[in-house]
């Protein structure tokens, strides 16, 4: 049976929807055990991921490909206004989002099996991921913003899924109110753009972007759109909600928020802004407001550049000051968004490659660290960084895995985080002009971030725990845990963490396949994409 004729190009999306419905159906039938619903969610994500990887041209999985060559990276005929278009960069992002949902679903299966709300959690997880997949193929502003809304609404509910925990409810409420406001800003911006361009189609906007006659209207429109999407992407100065929400949400949800859904905002910024930014080559053009037409490219570029530098600096500085593990990681997550924004600002294909690679790296590192935090918190370790004293020696494997993720976040060579930062910053240097300063800012910030990551390593491996500070819940009969002890963490979570640690090193030692694929996708995206 030919899969493409059966399900068409939307097979991954259909799979996720089917998974969601199955989980809710099982819920109605009274089957709520976390192992079952979790397995459905993880399975659906993994299967969809395989399809996406096959579509990206991974030869051994070619038989799974559901998109034919004529459906990806197709040049759009002038005048055509498609609602969606498949680009290989979009597929890369589908892979990133599915990886996040798979890892979170897998790790969450280790939560207490009688936990209330498991079907809601896993169902909403798949639903949010479905929204993310739709974002990656959008080529129309309305389609794009509606897909973002699917993600947003699902994640508001995800934060509150326990229904009992006051802190989570508080976080969800905050998340919801600010999210709703930001959505209105996005739509308002889109409506202004519609007024200026007469269309909401991204291809059509790209075709006329530099030569439209309502400069202030266009700038205001993009301004509101940036504001709305910047909330989703946690860019400074729209970031302050993020830390409270990341801190208050159940940690597995936080892992999904930082690893997955935050990147929706960034990818949406990719889609919306690469058009006009690319339209005017860096360094070209006259005064931004001359002659009735607006040379919006450079102005938007500089605006995003300022946001990028602000985001990484503020995120890093505040991360330095945190005493709680989760808040420190939340701020570091904000600063990571700044690095990724650099790639959008520069807009060349190497820069886009770097930014995408950075997000690819981030989905492992950030999801990974929060999954570890969730597991360790479940063992009874307190929220402070100092509560982690001696963890590295008591649970060596966990300590090493967490350490690898932190080293990768800090950008130490032979980890994935180094490769992505190297590609990103070198693209900034290559692009020359003021972009070099973005690389300098990025490097200084990386150096700064090493400090707070190294501090965690020091606490974990070199500080002695105070007597009876470290709970021995995982340790049966008070003996030392064995090297392979998954007890306490749960085997599913331990597997997810191990997968992440291996990926962080494996892709760092041998980045070429991923780097090549993303580099290809980025080149196509710049020439074809909306």
């Amino acid at each position: 049976m030919d899969l493409s004729s059966f399900a068409g190009p939307f097979l991954p999306e259909i799979l996720l929807l089917a998974g969601t419905l199955l989980i809710f159906l099982l819920d109605v039938l009274g089957i709520r055990r976390i192992e079952v619903t979790g397995a459905v969610a993880a399975g659906a994500s993994a299967l969809a991921l395989l399809f996406v990887v096959a579509d990206l041209g991974f030869a051994p999985l070619a038989f799974l490909a559901n998109l034919s060559a004529g459906q990806v990276d197709v040049a759009i005929a002038p005048g055509a206004t498609p609602l969606y278009a498949f680009t290989s960069l979009g597929l890369v992002f589908q892979g990133i989002f599915l990886t996040a949902s798979f890892l979170v679903a897998l790790a969450s299966m280790s939560r207490p099996s009688n936990e209330r709300g498991a079907p809601i959690f896993f169902g909403l997880l798949l639903l949010a991921t479905l929204g993310m997949l739709l974002v990656t193929i959008a080529s129309d502003l309305i389609f794009l913003l509606l897909s973002v809304e699917i993600v947003s609404i699902s994640t508001y509910l995800l934060v509150a899924y326990t229904r009992k925990d006051v802190r989570s409810l508080e976080a969800a409420m905050k998340f919801y109110i600010i999210g709703a406001l930001s959505t209105t800003l996005s739509f308002f911006g889109a409506s202004l753009l519609y007024g200026a361009y007469g269309t909401t189609n991204l291809f059509a906007i790209r075709a006329v972007a530099g030569s439209v006659g309502y400069p202030v209207l266009v700038l205001l429109g993009y301004g509101f759109l940036i504001a709305g999407l910047a909330f989703k992407a946690t860019l400074v100065p729209f970031h302050a909600w993020a830390v409270d929400v990341y801190d208050g949400a159940p940690t597995d949800v936080t892992a999904f928020l930082t690893g997955g859904s935050k990147k929706v905002g960034l990818f949406a910024i990719f889609l919306v802004f690469l058009g006009p930014v690319l339209f005017v080559a860096p360094g070209a053009g006259g005064s931004p407001f001359s002659g009735g037409t607006v040379n919006i490219g450079p102005v938007l570029q500089v605006t995003l550049a300022i946001l990028a530098v602000l985001t990484m600096t503020v995120g890093n500085v505040l991360a330095l000051l945190q005493k709680e593990m989760k808040r420190m990681l939340a701020y570091s997550s904000i600063s990571q968004a700044g690095y990724m924004l650099i790639g959008i600002v520069i807009g060349t294909s190497p820069a886009l490659t770097g930014a995408t690679l950075q997000m690819f790296a981030n989905v492992f590192m950030k999801t990974g660290v929060f999954l570890v935090v969730a597991g360790v918190t479940a063992l009874g370790v307190g929220p402070l960084i100092d509560d982690w004293k001696g963890l590295g020696t008591r649970r060596p494997l966990l300590g090493v895995a967490f350490g690898l993720m932190l080293l990768s976040l800090a950008g130490v060579p032979l980890t994935l985080g180094f490769v992505s930062k190297f590609v990103l910053f070198s693209s900034a240097v290559e692009a020359q002009g003021y972009f070099v300063w973005l690389a300098v800012a990025g490097l200084l910030n990386s150096a700064l971030s090493v400090f707070y990551y190294a501090r965690v390593l020091k606490v974990m491996f070199f500080d002695r725990p105070e007597p009876d500070a470290l709970p021995t819940g995982a340790v049966a009969g008070g003996s030392e845990p064995s090297l392979l002890a998954a007890g306490g963490l749960g085997y599913a979570r331990a597997t997810a963490i191990a997968l992440i640690a291996v990926a962080v090193v494996a892709f760092g030692v041998y980045p070429q396949p991923v780097l090549g694929a993303i580099s290809n996708a980025a080149q196509h995206f710049i020439h074809v994409g909306p």
């Binding site: 905050k174 301004g223 100065p237 302050a240 300022i306 290559e430 070429q512």
Partner: protein, 637 residues
């Protein structure tokens, strides 16, 4: 066998296997150059983009076996295995044995990687790795304050060189990346500073680019080599590095790691090329160090430190040869020196193992109880003194002839040549002074050392094998293939050493100097004599100057204590008041915002609205005022 020693035997087994493979590969390549092809693996490839690299840019990891790396590979694996075996007998404390063997094995790995690296960046990675292993092993007895501080000293002083080396790489890269090979339109995607014998990359394209930059780059490379090979003025760390176990001194601080600096210079001279200013600087540093270090060895009472100064001095010879354009001749001396210097250290280790002191003036008469060690030390000493037919004669003589052949065209080499020549006499004198003090006479001067005895077989076998190598390694020069290799190593700049009458004269003169050095040592110290310089002698200040190591260490300590500490204080002040001030400013500003946001229980939705509006205002200030201003300042685009 004690359980603690299992790790030792594992290391012996693996380094033995490495030696078999290393020797097979090395000999195969030297007999038949080009047997092994370069294996390369692209670690990171950046897609082509406008800018300095229109063909893209690759970071490459690869292994390369060419004749010079083959020579080094043999040295590293053979000496590595013998030292590992010797360690079984020598290292017998209970604590830290696994650490010792792990670090020594890591060192051997890194050193082999350095030798086999096929580009300068990879070279640098392994360069740093051997450096850190050296730090660990010098500080092996870290409970001893002197060992801990020696380790730090070695690390910091070589770090000065390492930074220079890195800057040198950057300068070469900058220079060639901007200039590019003529007519090529930029570098090929994989053209990053390869050191490939079959493809002298940069030389092949001519020394294009800015010659001042090239000269500076060459000086930087020299700085890196001087740090690692303990050349003047970065020589201070090596004598103190003797705080480590003697096995470590033999392997790392005599035979292999310290030779890495010479190897770097050789590689750079063969594949990057030096300007004539660089060459003069290298010859100058090398020739001066050869003499300078030898003078300090003359008075030292510590057996290991005498040999350490001798190492610095011999490395000076090698550096000088490379600088004069004879990279292979320098490497030949490196090759023979590795064996006889490792032999001297292991023999000294055998003595220290037996008598428990390093003070030459407490020893004496040890040849009676330690016959094998006495013979081994003598063989090493004769090789070092350059007495034919021992190994050192052939290579040191080659260096002197090679430099002599350049004197016609480079008169500025003259003083350094003479210094190096004079050092031959000092070398023979100080090493036999040590031998006579330790082994001749009737009995130890310190009576408590009477019960000395030879070590176990694991210590004796390496001594015997290294003695054989110290006798025979120089005969390599008679292998026809190797001779042509020596000549080809002369590269584009040199005239190959010709074995004519002039060279015979030089040989005769240097042997005469060596013999007279030994004779002087016998007169002053032979047969249990102890020569005491009269208190009123005019030479006393010189002796003090030498014992104080020309006050270099004190000077550096002063710079470290006063200069660096002042800078550190200033930096600390800056950190505390400027940086922390900024950070706390941030903290307060954001705490204000987030505190307002945190009042969720109040349910005051207008707070959120206010927050959103604040963000929006900030954004529009940037978008409508700041960004257009920046764009106009950027020159209209």
């Amino acid at each position: 066998m004690r359980r603690l020693e299992w790790g030792g035997w594992v290391s012996v087994a693996f380094s033995g296997a490495a030696m078999v493979v290393g020797v097979l590969i090395g000999v195969g390549e030297m007999v038949n150059p080009g047997t092994y092809t370069d294996v390369r693996y692209t670690w990171l490839h950046l897609a082509p983009a406008p800018g300095p690299f229109p063909n893209g840019f690759s970071l490459v990891v690869g292994t390369l076996v060419d004749p010079i790396s083959a020579l080094m590979l043999i040295v590293v694996t053979v000496v590595g295995f013998l030292v590992m075996l010797y360690s079984i007998g020598y290292m017998h404390q209970d604590r830290g044995l696994p650490r010792y063997y792990a670090e020594l094995s890591l060192f051997l790995t890194a050193m082999s990687g350095l030798v086999l690296a096929d580009n300068l960046l990879e070279f640098f990675v392994f360069w740093e790795l051997v450096g850190v292993c050296s730090y660990f092993l010098i500080g092996f007895y870290y409970e001893k304050p002197s060992a801990a501080s020696a380790a730090k000293e070695a690390f910091i002083v070589t770090r000065v060189g390492d930074i220079m080396f890195l800057l040198g790489i950057f300068l070469y890269f900058y220079n060639f990346a901007l200039a590019g090979p003529a007519g090529s339109g930029g570098w090929a995607a994989n053209g990053f500073l390869f050191v490939n014998g079959n493809q002298p990359y940069l030389l092949g394209h001519g020394l294009g680019g800015n010659s001042t930059l090239l000269t500076v780059a060459g000086i930087m490379i020299l700085g890196g080599a001087a740090g690692k090979s303990a050349q003047f003025p970065l020589h201070v760390w090596l004598p103190d590095a003797m705080e480590g176990p003697t096995t470590v001194s033999a392997l790392i601080h005599a035979a292999t790691m310290v030779a890495a600096g010479v190897y770097l210079l050789a590689v750079a001279s063969l594949f990057l090329g030096f300007t004539s200013t660089d060459q003069l600087a290298i010859v100058g540093i090398g020739g001066f160090t050869a003499f300078f270090a030898a003078t300090m060895a003359v008075v030292h009472p510590d057996i290991k430190r005498v040999i350490a100064y001798s190492t610095i001095s011999q490395l000076g010879y090698m550096v000088m040869a490379v600088g004069a354009g004879f990279a292979m001749v320098g490497l030949f001396h490196l090759f023979t020196h590795a064996f006889f210097k490792a032999l001297l250290f292991l023999a000294a280790g055998s003595v220290i193992h037996a008598v428990g002191t390093q003070d030459l003036f407490k020893m004496g008469g040890l040849r009676k109880t330690m016959r094998l060690t006495a013979i081994a030390f003598a063989v090493g000493g004769l090789a070092l003194a350059g007495i034919p037919p021992f190994a050192g004669f052939w290579s040191k003589d080659d260096i002197l002839s090679a430099v002599y052949s350049q004197l016609g065209s480079h008169p500025a080499y003259w003083p350094f040549f003479l210094l190096a020549f004079a050092a031959v006499f000092l070398t023979a004198y100080y090493i036999f002074r040590a031998w006579f003090l330790a082994f001749s006479g009737d009995h130890p001067r310190d009576p408590s050392l009477g019960h000395a005895h030879e070590g176990p077989w694991t210590m004796q076998v390496p001594l015997v094998l290294l003695s054989a190598l110290a006798c025979g390694a120089g005969l390599l020069i008679f292998v026809p293939g190797f001779q042509s290799l020596l000549l080809s190593g002369a590269g584009a700049t040199g005239i190959p050493p010709v074995y004519g009458t002039t060279d015979l004269l030089i040989s005769a003169a240097s042997v005469a100097l060596g013999v007279s050095g030994i004779a002087l040592a016998w007169v002053l110290w032979g047969n249990g004599r102890v020569y005491a310089l009269p208190e009123t002698s005019a030479a006393q200040p010189v002796r003090r100057l030498l014992l104080k190591r020309y006050y270099f260490k004190i000077g550096y300590d002063w710079i470290g204590a006063k200069g660096v500490y002042t800078i550190a204080r200033a930096a600390d002040f800056f950190d505390r008041f400027v940086i922390d001030g900024t950070v706390h400013g941030f903290e307060r500003a954001f705490a204000l915002v987030s505190n307002r946001l945190r009042r969720i229980q109040s349910g005051v939705v207008s707070d959120y609205a206010a927050y959103v509006v604040a963000g929006l205002i900030a954004l529009f200030v940037i978008l409508l005022i700041v960004a257009p201003y920046v764009v106009s300042r950027l020159g209209g685009g």
